[in-house]
Assembly symmetry: C2
Homo-oligomer: 468 residues x 2
């Protein structure tokens, strides 16, 4: 419960209005077993449950009755054994009152509530489940197979409509996450010296995330192989002259996220080749900040970035031909196989579990199936209060280069002989979280993590000097 009671009451009221009729069942998350039933990963409440019911405990289910406007919080109270092992917690009745629900019931009541509603011919609305225990629960309730749960489209649409625009209170929490993210990324830059392992740096910044907040908002990407989009840390020590790509974020105790990427030179100095590519990525990052504002489609911002990237790669002799045609053909996607960004909020890819086509796209802006563009998670028109990431990157992926060269993909726009010279380059990504404001956008977080090549070098010099 990070927000006032009225926030939750109003959110549920609006949700019931948007959905109109029927029974909405919103299961919270349970503990997720790691290597045996009682050894669970750190508990993470479901974001939708948090948004509407605010309680950060396992074993709860929220039920909203759209027809009579009554909200229930279901859960079982603890006994003396629970107190011995896990301490005293609030009663379900108190938790229900805290978020302004109308009443509480034991968890077992859920089966009858759903059965009665079904009997009365009322619709049961559920969101797409992603945890398998919840799939089993819903399958039993709805009489289907756990892997064939039918989610309610109007419930999905209502939740997306509500959660897409962040309130000032939510933005404050995201800013708090960005502050932890700043500490994480500057610590990574401090430790970006030859000999330290990727795993050491990932562990260290994960410790910062967990020390000041709840958890990392996703598994940190810490890799000298930046060309692997999700390059998880290995035990390889950092080597002078390589680049270290760190894509990592924090989650506050209120479960709001940050998500930043920086690519730093191991040893503190970019090579000429690295600096040239880094400058292009930084300029693409800045172009997106210039273009992003209410009413503009993020798909168009993405395409503007692709055009600039193509122009600049042409100047370096890596691409050729007409820029517009190259971008239309998706030739730049050899270097940028992902999208410019995604929504961010309580989920680092906000609401991704509801279906990317409903979160990042709409009737006007449809998802593409073209390689590269298909990975753009956010295409639709921006609105004031949206929080999205701005994360261009340039990668040299040996397997993809070999495949495209062999198959002649976009051969008229790609200078493969020159590209071959970059095959051990790795990859560079720069990512910030931006808030769409009334007439533009601004990066979130009090201090921006250095990202221009010269700033990065100067910052690393200073911070590493402190250690020496």
């Amino acid at each position: 419960m990070f927000f006032p009671i009225q926030t939750y009451v109003e959110r549920r009221e609006r949700l019931r209005e948007l959905v109109g009729s029927g029974l909405i069942v919103l299961p919270g998350n349970n503990d997720s077993p790691m290597n045996y039933p009682a050894n669970a990963y750190k508990f993470r409440q479901d974001s939708n449950f948090l948004y509407f019911f605010g309680q950060n405990r396992d074993g709860l289910v929220g039920v909203l009755d759209c027809d009579n406007g009554i909200d229930w919080l279901l859960g079982d109270d603890i006994d003396i054994d629970d107190i011995i092992w896990f301490g005293t917690v609030k009663s379900v009745s108190d938790m229900s009152s805290e978020v302004g629900a109308n009443g509480s019931k034991p968890l077992a009541a859920l089966t009858e509530m759903v059965a009665e509603a079904k009997k009365a011919g009322r619709k049961i609305h559920v969101l797409p489940p992603y945890r398998h225990d919840i799939k089993i629960l819903l399958a039993d309730l709805l009489g289907t197979h756990p892997l064939q749960i039918q989610a309610s489209q109007c419930l999905i649409d209502a939740v997306v409509e509500m959660r897409s625009v962040k309130s000032p209170e939510e933005i404050r929490e995201i800013e708090a996450a960005c502050a932890i993210g700043y500490t994480m990324h500057t610590a990574a830059m401090r430790h970006c010296v030859p000999g330290n392992t990727e795993q050491f740096i990932a562990g260290h910044i994960g410790g910062i995330a967990a020390g000041y907040g709840c958890i990392t908002s996703f598994q940190s990407i810490v890799t000298q192989h930046g060309e692997v989009m999700h390059g998880y840390p290995t035990t390889h020590p950092l080597q002078e002259g390589r680049l270290l790509l760190v894509d990592a974020g924090a989650e506050t105790n209120s479960n709001y996220c940050s998500d930043h990427t920086r690519t730093s030179p191991v040893g503190g100095k970019f090579s000429q080749q690295q600096r040239e590519i880094h400058d292009i990525v930084a300029d693409c990052h800045d172009l997106a900040m210039e273009k992003a504002k209410p009413g503009v489609r993020y798909l168009d911002v993405h395409l503007d970035v692709c055009r600039l990237m193509t122009e600049r790669l042409k100047a370096l002799g890596l691409m050729r031909g007409d820029t517009e045609e190259a971008v239309q053909a998706g030739a730049h996607a050899l270097f940028l196989p992902h999208g410019l960004g995604h929504m961010m909020g309580m989920d680092v890819h906000d609401m991704e579990g509801l279906g990317q086509q409903y979160v990042g796209y709409d009737e006007e802006t449809r998802p593409s199936s073209q390689f590269g563009l298909a990975s753009l998670r956010m295409g639709r028109r921006l609105q004031k209060g949206f929080v999205v990431t701005d994360e261009p990157g340039i990668y040299f992926i040996p397997a993809l280069i070999d495949l495209w060269r062999k198959e002649g993909t976009c051969a008229e726009f790609l200078c493969f002989d020159k590209i071959e010279q970059y095959k051990d380059f790795g990859g560079i990504r720069i990512e910030d979280d931006i808030l769409i404001t009334v007439d533009g956008c601004r990066p979130l977080g009090e201090e921006q993590i250095p990202y221009r090549a010269a700033e990065v070098e100067e910052f690393m010099r200073q911070i590493q000097e402190e250690d020496a």
Copy 2:
């Protein structure tokens, strides 16, 4: 694959022999979604899969045919999209060869393999599943409900027999985990100063675990409320004069665990009252080390510890009456509601998912239902090569004290008026991991984390002085 190929071949051969006939299906783990399908917790392979098939990747299933001695590794090879997002990995066929299995097949082959075996009237052996995706998989294979999977008793027995005794190679890995644990616990002692939050310390030592190994072996317990057995860290700052209980362990990249507990005085000095209780716990810890050896039941070591604790609590005026009668009645369990220890290995509670009654007990030594003793996870006779924890504790649990006083539980052995004076004490636990040797036991880990009160104070003084 941390061990030579022959290790895995021999383990599977022995398993097939012990089980005798039928088809053994050993699913590996998959990624476990945190807050949406693609945002997973850090991958943790299933320990049984690791033990027999050694491969640390998601999406694999091992199949052992006891009737023809053939072992299969099932899994799907990756495509170019996987390479772009997650990098290149070995083919399933290569992974199969690496661990000496007879061949590989796509995952989809599993359904037919099981169907054919069932049709031929052969038994399908599975272990008790704890991940819900695996429950759904097995339910579909076996034609039952996901929550009603019947595990194979002879498979459970065979795995327990094999995994209980640790090989020298396994012990080396546990020692490596203990070395990380040493760094974690001494770092916690360093930061055990007023003002730091429990969460900060938990985050910091979690960062050390992940930086030098894979992950913490369980969610770290870092709490000023040591009387809560699993007291997870809060944002409360440490207060001078309180005790900080830290129960935490590391898991190596080979997935072997450590598990230690220390209870340190915030500010660096135990009060007289704290020291008295701490000394009792330390002496109980030492008594267990004296008693534990091959042929001795761990249940009897536990009871010896309970007797010593009762004697000493009588001397402090907290208990009274005949020691033997008090222990028989379970009066000491007001202070020690848990058991002396548990098996440890690849799982921090080793093999707990197979059923505690099969891992820690046998036909000779049966589990108890008495409060306190019922929580002893390991009772049976020790053997050379067992690794168990030695973790006595004394806790003052207000809710339990009130309940027992009200109900008159063990009233003839408990001095409730005196106990009331300790209600805000918290709790103390000291825990080490011990290896049963040929004629006794020894603590694992090159250096033992200081645990006698005077050593703890001196160590904290030194380590905190370095920071000043």
